[in-house]
Symmetry: C2
Subunit: 358 residues, 2 copies
């Protein structure tokens, strides 16, 4: 691999397999598939989704909605609480495409009423246990009040994100959260289907969408991270290391053989400062062996124990330290591929295509 | 403050005061001042340094050296281990400006010999206790061997970065590390001044450069973060909250009054995922009250307890929760201003100038 600075490699084959696997599950369960594009933020990767027949997407900001609308996407949900300060941009966009926004509280509904006369499509965001944003599912009076307030707007259904699966201690706990969430969403939807027969229930975190097989009573899923996966998903036992479709190639710039440490050009501004805890130590990224056309687990366990702005420090296995030289390239599987992809701004495929997104 | 999305505000007055304070210390101690520009990465902020008579700078990558060389800077040290894969860019740049590179190991010296015939200016990077990169100060044989190997190049002196001050538990510990470092650098330099009378000793972390008054036997300092400071420096008692020159203004998009929590548009892709531990909790950024022309400590303590890609969750004081509405703007003092500035890519001054750097 001919590079001279930290470079985000994309294995297109793995990426396509990840999309295909989720597409098949969606078809088997008769779901709407609205993948979250915040993970890759890439028009070219979006085109791969199109090849699988996907025409509805999720994004996490108005800016990202504008970006993908300009690239031809016509049906976009902004899965982020409605920001009244962006109402003008939302109005413009909603005239061009099928845009869905999120109402996360009664106060949010009131702000929408105050800020526009245009009829918008909206989901009510439900807090099914993650406690980040949204109305608690049992606050029926608030939900009714919000829907009533927004009668001039188009109620699309209930949406939730069970981000608490990322804190689960086992795959069983992920499946349990998924089951609880889907039951909550089913109950809630059933309370409103008489009045609003077309509403849907939308869920969407990668851990539960990947592991679960039962999507009864759910209409739509919105996972994002599955397109690449990462070390965090691997440690949650959501994917295999071999499913991870991105890897940051980093030049080796210093080696301390006494401490079994390798300094790479690759730091917090490339990988992000996310870490997982592993045997009581922080792990900022896993070392893999880079070949010309792929990468594979390296012999012995070597991983990033600390990151500065541009430096990364690898605690290396004896095998790695014995074979490495300054000027070599080391592959790092990122802890959180969404954050790494956002920082890197560009992908290089293994057949040397460049996918820029910034 | 009229904004609609996360916006990095720069208080130019505080920024200039921070530069002035360090400039005065440099003059008083008869030092060379080579500020690290990785913190701000901004040509416009660079111009403020020029107003203080500064014409030597430090950067952390070849790319950043090219960027500032193109903006007219003629004397640049790349304070990052020599990356042989960038030798062509280094050669080109060294013909245009006074460029200094870092040799961090004997192996690094060997790689330089193998990769160029052009004579380059170099510092030997010394590990004075931080254990990130560089040759240990007592490895005199290795240092001599490296200098001997590099006889066709121009030996500029010894350089170290005592990043271990960031892990100090007290200001006394920071001063102790500074004292140890300067003694190590003095001893080392004295061993080589007969043969190389012009070599200098260069140190440069913000905590010790800000707190220390004694710079005997040190020739050059290279602090960077002091230009803005941040929450990390404040918690190290290196600066006051009032010295911090940057603040991310973030729209409020959801409020949970039962949990005293506020959801802002402002997440890991704006602030970075750096945190400090405070009373056993993670703090990803401190809330301040934004006025039209400045910001100030808000009543009661409110801070970010978690960040997603675009969401931030504030645990708010009663005072804050009682006065806040969706659509308001909240100020966040970042934990690590270097990482935040890198992510945001642009500053807005309080008098509405825009300083882009990406």
């Amino acid at each position: 691999m001919k590079i001279y600075k930290p470079t985000l490699f994309l294995d297109l084959q793995k990426c396509k397999q990840n999309i295909q696997r989720m597409s098949e599950k969606v078809k088997k369960n008769n779901l709407i598939f609205r993948p979250h594009f915040k993970t890759h933020q890439s028009i070219q990767i979006g085109k791969i989704f199109k090849e699988f027949g996907i025409n509805k997407i999720t994004v996490s900001s108005v800016k990202m909605a504008e970006y993908f609308a300009n690239a031809g996407w016509k049906d976009i949900t902004i899965a982020f609480p409605f920001n009244p300060l962006e109402i003008n941009k939302i109005e413009v966009l909603s005239k061009k495409i099928d845009l869905n926004i999120l109402i996360s509280s009664l106060e949010s509904a009131e702000k929408l009423i105050d800020s526009t006369n245009i009829s918008l499509n909206y989901f009510i965001e439900i807090d099914a246990g993650y406690h980040r944003s949204g109305i608690l599912a049992d606050e029926i009076a608030q939900i009714e009040r919000a829907i009533h307030l927004l009668s001039q707007h188009n109620f699309k259904g209930f949406l939730t994100h069970s981000g608490n699966t990322y804190n689960a201690q086992s795959t069983n706990e992920i499946l349990f959260i998924h089951q609880q969430t889907t039951l909550i969403m089913k109950d809630l939807k059933s309370k409103f289907t008489t009045q609003f027969p077309k509403i849907i229930a939308s869920v969407g975190d990668t851990p539960s969408c990947t592991l679960a097989e039962n999507f009864e009573n759910i209409d739509e899923i919105r996972p994002g991270n599955f397109v690449f996966f990462d070390l965090m998903q691997y440690h949650l036992e959501v994917c295999d290391l071999a499913n991870i479709a991105v890897c940051v190639a980093c030049p080796v710039v210093d080696i301390n053989r006494d401490r079994n440490q390798i300094v790479i050009y690759g730091g917090g501004i490339h990988l992000s400062k996310e870490f997982i805890m592993q045997n009581g130590m922080k792990n900022y990224g896993q070392v893999v062996k880079l070949n010309d056309l792929d990468w594979q687990e390296s012999a012995g366990s070597s991983y990033l124990i600390t990151l500065s702005q541009e430096h990364g420090i690898i605690q290396a296995s004896d095998e790695l330290i014995n074979e490495i030289s300054i000027g070599d390239i080391i592959g790092i599987i990122p802890v959180h591929s969404c954050m790494t992809a956002n920082l890197m701004g560009s992908y290089k495929t293994l057949d040397n295509q460049i996918f820029d997104h910034k």
